[in-house]
């Protein structure tokens, strides 16, 4: 390795093992944040002009006036289908249009009728349709209160922090303008503060041709002590109050060696917050793509548990309340208030706005092996052979930036990855059912011999700098341009670059990874793009947080198009925004091989799941630094139970393929990976569910136990779907963990020992290095494929084993979803989706999609019924035929039913080929008739 290799890293990034905070702004260093935060709660200068109120069936408009400067705003209020309210505030007559975020909402949200209940000089009361919900619009000062019955669910501008910096002419240049205009502006007596028209951070200056344009609004949440969401932050699941510190910041940044437990911005931003108490869950979606800061304060923060109890006993307690304030640098106020009331309702409401999780190819849910970098093809082959030799399953191997020809994406290093060999290699990979991911970053090397660059330049697709030239910055390839992904033409062109005949060396089993798409600009302010860079009519300032979203959107579209719309794409992104869930997976960026980073992976992915981004993972092992073998094993054990399961490592770290730490650790890692593979049917079904409903795959406990306050701040354990509870071991040298098993009157089964535990208890569990504490909820049925093979594709035709964990009422329910695992044909009703239920000693199944058809060679080979008593006999009923079943009764609590793959074991060899062919049909009819099929115990 040449010593110059990491020159850029060396030059551009700090050399210490912690984030260089000085590279990133605090609120005080961000002029608009400082300005807005200087406003304290109090009387709002805004007044609603009730005489301007217009109410059509579905839309209310009303003008607001700022009594200080007489600038008028236009408020729009909508009742949206699915129990949501949309509040939109813009300038009534802005000097020029203000940015409204496009492409994030999947459609113009359908509205519902509203009606005027009453009106007087103080305000109006509107009915929000059903459920006795009303919104009270108070005129002086302006505020909104959303009520249900007599209960206030949420108040807007109750603290008077609505602020709207109207667009204005610059004063020092105004004298050239008409005297009339000058006078008009003069009337406002605006105070000009530092940073309104220009701002400098470190050596970077931000010309602000449009001047101040920030917006801000406050929300009060009575009865709420727990708020969640607004990823991405390396912080606890429950958001903290920000009094006395910086607000949570949402501004997509490439943060080198990020610190934990603080509100600093990271790679992605989803401006969605959930509020929860035992009665209700609500959400706020602040649709704004500019730099955003979120302040949280609470009247109970700082009170001890004892203090709260004292309040309760003395009856003197004020209602707990959380106040939230959003501040954005530009754009408009466009807020979706999601009114729940249940957590699942909020997920559905949000999904109806921004869409659901992309349904990934099944193999993408399996294990991914990555490293910066596998040096050459031989290296990749050796790693593949290592997995083969050590019998550890994997599906994807990843190529980081070094695979390219000098960081020119869409190309291959001519020595290490010559393209003719890449074809041969990928063909070989397709034979052995493995896949590959190659990185494609959105910074394009400025090089007139590079086709991609030449095309983008000649088509004018680059983002422009403030002076109109192509914006250039430093990134991996050196000097680079940044394509304007906000331009739909550019995105269409980019997508076309993934066509097999355009992207040399690509094949069906080559997928894509979008890194550095915040965008990362090594020599830019805060390692990102200058805010005064220009995207057509808009400044980068207006849409910064959307850039990564668009990059992934265009890439995913490219992968769909290259297969003629047949194959599902798989694209991993580092930067994201609301709606990014529609395009693939995200990961938590460049973490480190430290125990705390392992711990934080749980709340980071839980927070993302809450706001729709289910396909989340952290680099297994930690990106920077070198994990001890204990940490590596624990990370595999944790990662195996998180949605996106990929090991990754920095170029400077020693190799850490799973077999490099001695046979014992190899065996531990193998076992963890195998547990993942065995559970793939469950993961797949959950992702199908997430795709259909937007419900998170990896969930905090409170989502399923919304009234159990003990779970509200819990982020060292989590649920997968509703039926598996995971408490990974994340402490060094742990001898035991304390898992909280929720649910009074419920039971949980240890998935390894099948031991039954009661719910609503803290269970101390001794652990060894092989322990991964996982529990199946009594009352659930989970399908597994316990014949673990080399890759998920190899397991396609394998039989299922159903794990039926009985509730104390001796019932259980579950689902089974099967399709081809990789195409969009499920949209053409080519799948099997059945509900399995166990009640009254009968396990039966019903077809959840009777109009769907799919044939599979898989069958059910075994059913384990946990928590049952010994039956006298078991029968299988199929199409009226009644067969006696093999069964075993194990450990005095488990019934195991066995269904050998009868067909071909009963036939002579000559017969087999025919029966093979017939078996497919058999399974088809098998499924079709399963309704009549019963297992009687």
């Amino acid at each position: 390795m040449a010593p110059v290799l990491l020159l850029w890293l060396a030059v551009c990034l700090s050399g210490t093992w912690a984030v260089d905070r000085g590279n990133f702004k605090t609120c005080d260093q961000s002029a608009f944040c400082k300005r807005q935060r200087a406003l304290k709660p109090g009387q709002s200068p805004y007044r609603a002009l009730l005489e301007t109120l217009e109410l059509t069936n579905t839309r209310l408009t009303l003008q607001l006036i700022n009594d200080n400067n007489k600038v008028r705003l236009l408020l729009e209020l909508y009742r949206l289908q699915g129990n949501m309210t949309r509040v939109k505030i813009n300038e009534l007559k802005p000097l020029k249009p203000r940015y409204e975020v496009p492409d994030v909402l999947i459609q113009e949200p359908p509205t519902e009728p509203m009606s005027l209940l009453s009106q007087d000089e103080n305000g109006v009361v509107l009915s929000l349709g059903a459920e006795s919900q009303r919104v009270i619009v108070s005129a002086r000062p302006f505020r909104l209160d959303i009520m249900e019955g007599r209960e206030v669910l949420m108040s807007v501008n109750s603290r008077g922090l609505l602020a709207f910096e109207h667009l204005r002419m610059r004063k020092d240049t105004l004298f050239h303008c008409s005297p009339v205009l000058y006078q008009a502006v003069n009337e406002e007596e605006e105070k000009v503060e530092d940073g309104m028209w220009e701002e400098t951070f470190k050596s970077h200056s931000d010309s602000k041709p449009n001047g101040p344009s920030a917006v801000s609004l406050d929300f009060s949440l009575p009865g709420v002590e727990h708020v969640y969401g607004i990823p991405e932050h390396a912080d606890t699941l429950k958001l903290k109050t920000t009094d006395g510190g910086d607000p949570y910041r949402l501004y997509n940044l490439d943060v080198f060696q990020y610190e934990l437990y603080n509100p600093m911005a990271l790679y992605g931003a989803v401006p969605v917050m959930l509020a929860h108490n035992a009665q209700r869950t609500t959400g706020i979606f602040w649709l704004n793509a500019a730099e955003t800061w979120v302040d949280i304060s609470s009247n109970t923060a700082g009170k001890t548990v004892f203090g709260k109890m004292l309040d309760y006993v003395q009856g003197s307690s004020e209602t707990p309340q959380t106040d939230v304030r959003w501040i954005s640098e530009s754009g408009i106020i466009d807020v979706f208030v999601m009114l729940g009331p249940k957590p699942q309702d909020v997920f559905s409401q949000y999904a109806s706005l921004t869409g659901t999780q992309a349904f990934p190819p099944l193999s993408a849910l399996a294990y991914h092996q990555c490293r910066w970098n596998y040096n050459d093809q031989e290296d990749v082959q050796a790693v593949d052979a290592g997995f083969d030799q050590h019998d550890i399953p994997y599906d994807f191997i990843w190529l980081d930036i070094e695979h390219t020809d000098g960081k020119r994406y869409f190309t291959w290093d001519p020595h290490n990855y010559p393209t003719p060999l890449i074809y041969i290699f990928l063909t070989f990979f397709s034979f052995i059912h493995q896949q590959m991911v190659a990185i494609v970053d959105p910074h394009i090397k400025v090089d007139s011999n590079y086709k991609i660059h030449n095309e983008i330049r000649s088509r004018g697709y680059y983002i422009k700098n403030k002076d109109g030239g192509d914006y250039e910055g430093w990134c991996w390839p050196g000097n680079a341009g940044y394509p304007d992904f906000t331009n739909p033409e550019m995105r269409a062109w980019w997508a076309s670059m993934f066509a097999y005949d355009q992207y040399e060396g690509s094949m069906e089993n080559l997928y894509t990874w979008n890194d550095m798409n915040e965008p990362s600009v090594f020599n830019g302010p805060e390692v990102t793009m200058h805010k005064d860079a220009v995207h057509g009519a808009w400044e980068h300032r207006d849409l910064h947080n959307l850039y990564g979203f668009y990059v992934q959107m265009a890439t995913a579209e490219g992968l769909v198009q290259r297969s003629g719309g047949v194959e599902r794409p798989f694209v991993l992104t580092r930067a994201f925004f609301a709606g990014s869930q529609r395009y693939g997976a995200v990961w938590t960026g460049d973490n480190a091989a430290e125990w705390d980073h392992l711990k934080i992976s749980i709340p980071m992915c839980l927070s993302l799941g809450l706001v729709g981004v289910s396909f989340c993972g952290a680099d297994v092992g930690g990106f920077f630094k070198t994990p001890s073998s204990e940490l590596l094993v624990r990370w595999y054990q944790t990662g195996a139970y998180q949605p996106f399961f990929r090991a990754h490592a920095h170029l400077d770290t020693p190799r850490r393929e799973p077999w490099l730490f001695g046979p014992e650790n190899t065996a531990l890692i193998r076992e963890a990976v195998r547990q993942r593979y065995a559970l793939l049917p469950y993961w797949y079904q959950l992702f199908y569910h997430a795709y259909r409903t937007g419900h998170p795959v990896m969930r905090p406990l409170w989502v399923e136990y919304p009234q159990d306050t003990a779970t509200f701040a819990m982020d060292d354990q989590f649920l997968i779907g509703e039926d598996l509870l995971v408490h990974p071991v994340t402490e060094e040298g742990a001898r035991g963990i304390t898992a909280y098993l929720p649910g009074k009157g419920e039971v949980w089964f240890d998935v390894h020992t099948f031991q039954k535990h009661n719910g609503a208890q803290n269970l101390y569990v001794p652990v060894t290095m092989s322990s991964i504490p996982v529990y199946q909820r009594g009352g659930s049925i989970i399908p597994r494929k316990i014949r673990v093979r080399r890759s998920s594709t190899c397991m396609e035709h394998d039989p299922y084993t159903l794990y039926v964990a009985l509730s104390p009422q001796r019932t259980a329910e579950g689902e089974l979803y099967i399709d081809d695992g990789h195409t969009f044909n499920f949209n053409k009703k080519e799948f099997i989706h059945r509900r399995l239920s166990f009640a009254n000693n009968v396990l039966s199944s019903i077809n959840l999609a009777p109009d769907a058809q799919f044939s599979t060679q898989s069958w059910i080979e075994r059913i384990l019924i946990l928590g049952a008593s010994k039956p006298s006999k078991v029968t299988l009923k199929t199409a009226g035929e009644c067969l006696k079943c093999f069964f075993m009764f194990l450990y005095g609590k488990i019934i195991m039913l066995m269904f050998p793959n009868l067909d071909w074991s009963r036939h002579k060899r000559l017969y087999k080929r025919q029966t093979q062919a017939r078996r497919q049909e058999n399974w088809l009819s098998h499924c079709g008739t399963w309704r009549r099929e019963r297992l009687r115990t």
């Binding site: 390795m1 010593p3 020693p654 190899c794």
Partner: protein, 454 residues
């Protein structure tokens, strides 16, 4: 007799067991005799025989499903006629990937597997034959190198002895020279002491000449005085011009005694250009400067130079000795077969980098632009416990940016020539070099032949 019975039984079982049990080797056949029931090989369970290979796992040890993927941890026997038979994990049966060259593992899958055992067998036999030839040739060369090594070792020992002899001789010489230098110094000292008078005499001479020139006795010689008293040897008649006088005065217009001693005195003493008018040549008192002193000084200088030369030689020889001793303390293998590698260097160009391995010394990398980086200096043998000479470790090379120092593991493989085969860098700044040489050939390899079931 007993043997006959056993043979008969085996024969019988072979006849009866007409149904081939998939996935087992001949040696396991006895466990799968077709009967009413099957006992799991670990003895844990008895199951009806039709449950063998029925694609459902009954035995904990997986022995009832040798031919299907039903049991976790089971194994499937590929008989691979024409090639090597071997076991694969039974999870690879019917997984759509051809593992056994006889295609027996994919009897019920979409994979279109061809029987490639014959080809593989041929290729492997060719390979093995090639390897055997390489090994034979390698071992022959190795024997030669060992023999050469013995000679080389002797040569080196002889060299060491020679050097030691040279060193001893030099030491004697050194002592002799030291003695002689000491003597010369002593002599010089003596002479100098003796010549002290001469020295004073010389000073007197200088003064007297100065006084001759200093006509007005003011302690300074001026241009006029020079013109009056000094003449060219060649042309006594011609008076010196003012410029010439100034030149003789060292560029000034007058000089005192001390200045005189440094300038004009030298010219007069040399006696090749100017003289005092009325005299001949060099002032008499100068010509007879003490010859003893000069000789003694010359001797002392010569002895000093000689001594330094000898000392240098002695030092060089001693360094060579310690160098050689160090080299000879390195472990060159049981038969000193690696000895010949010492002082050799081998190069390999990998794209823009040229790698150089100088065994027992260092590994370097030179880029196309010419910067050379040390990838490690000779450390230790680092092979397996069975063969510690299979790998060499070179450590403490140039430090990496933000990282540890570069180091290199050299793996030695058997070949007929000695050459670098490949250089890799699996982790940053950790290099792996494949180094081929006949001396890495191990005769044990020869016992591994091809096992084939033909």
């Amino acid at each position: 007799m007993r043997r006959h019975i056993i043979m008969a039984v085996v024969f019988w079982s072979v006849c009866v067991d007409s149904r081939k049990i998939r996935g087992i080797s001949l040696s396991y056949k006895r466990f799968y005799r077709e009967r009413k029931s099957f006992l799991c090989i670990d003895g844990s369970k008895m199951i009806p025989f039709e449950q063998v290979n029925d694609d459902y796992c009954d035995c904990e040890d997986g022995s009832d499903e040798p031919g299907t993927a039903a049991c976790p941890g089971g194994r499937f026997y590929c008989s691979n006629l024409g090639f090597r038979p071997h076991y694969i994990p039974s999870s690879r049966v019917n997984d759509g990937i051809c593992d056994c060259c006889d295609a027996s593992d994919e009897y019920n899958s979409h994979a279109h597997c061809q029987n490639s055992c014959r080809n593989l067998g041929q290729r492997e036999r060719a390979d093995v034959e090639g390897q055997m030839r390489t090994l034979d040739e390698g071992l022959r060369l190795k024997q030669q190198l060992i023999e050469e090594g013995v000679l080389l070792w002797r040569e080196k020992q002889a060299q060491l002895r020679d050097l030691q002899q040279v060193a001893e001789d030099l030491q004697i010489k050194l002592e002799e020279h030291r003695r002689r230098k000491h003597e010369a110094d002593r002599l010089k000292e003596q002479t100098l002491k003796a010549g002290d008078r001469g020295h004073r005499h010389q000073n007197r001479t200088v003064t007297s000449i100065f006084q001759i020139l200093d006509s007005n006795k003011d302690g300074r010689i001026t241009v006029n005085e020079v013109q009056a008293k000094v003449a060219f040897i060649q042309d006594e008649e011609r008076s010196l011009s003012e410029d010439e006088a100034v030149a003789l005065l060292g560029g000034g217009h007058e000089m005192d005694l001390s200045m005189f001693q440094l300038t004009l005195w030298d010219s007069l003493r040399a006696g090749d250009s100017v003289k005092i008018k009325g005299t001949y040549g060099v002032p008499a008192s100068l010509a007879d400067e003490d010859p003893n002193i000069e000789a003694a000084e010359r001797d002392a200088v010569r002895e000093d130079t000689d001594l330094k030369k000898v000392e240098e030689a002695y030092e060089t020889v001693n360094m060579e000795i310690s160098d050689l001793r160090n080299k000879l303390t390195i472990d060159y293998g049981t038969d000193r077969e690696f000895l010949f590698l010492n002082s050799q260097c081998y190069q390999l160009k990998v794209y823009e980098y040229t790698y150089t391995l100088c065994p027992f010394n260092q590994v370097t990398q030179k880029s196309a632009v010419g910067t050379e980086v040390s990838l490690g200096k000779w450390g230790t043998w680092a092979g397996t416990p069975e063969n510690q000479y299979s790998r060499m470790r070179y450590e403490s090379g140039e430090p990496c940016w933000q990282g540890p120092t570069r180091n290199t593991m050299v793996t030695l493989t058997c070949g007929t020539e000695t050459a670098l085969r490949s250089v890799k860098e699996p982790s940053k700044c950790q290099y792996i070099v494949d180094f081929q040489t006949p001396v890495a050939c191990q005769p044990v390899l020869k016992q591994q032949g091809i096992h084939s079931e033909l």
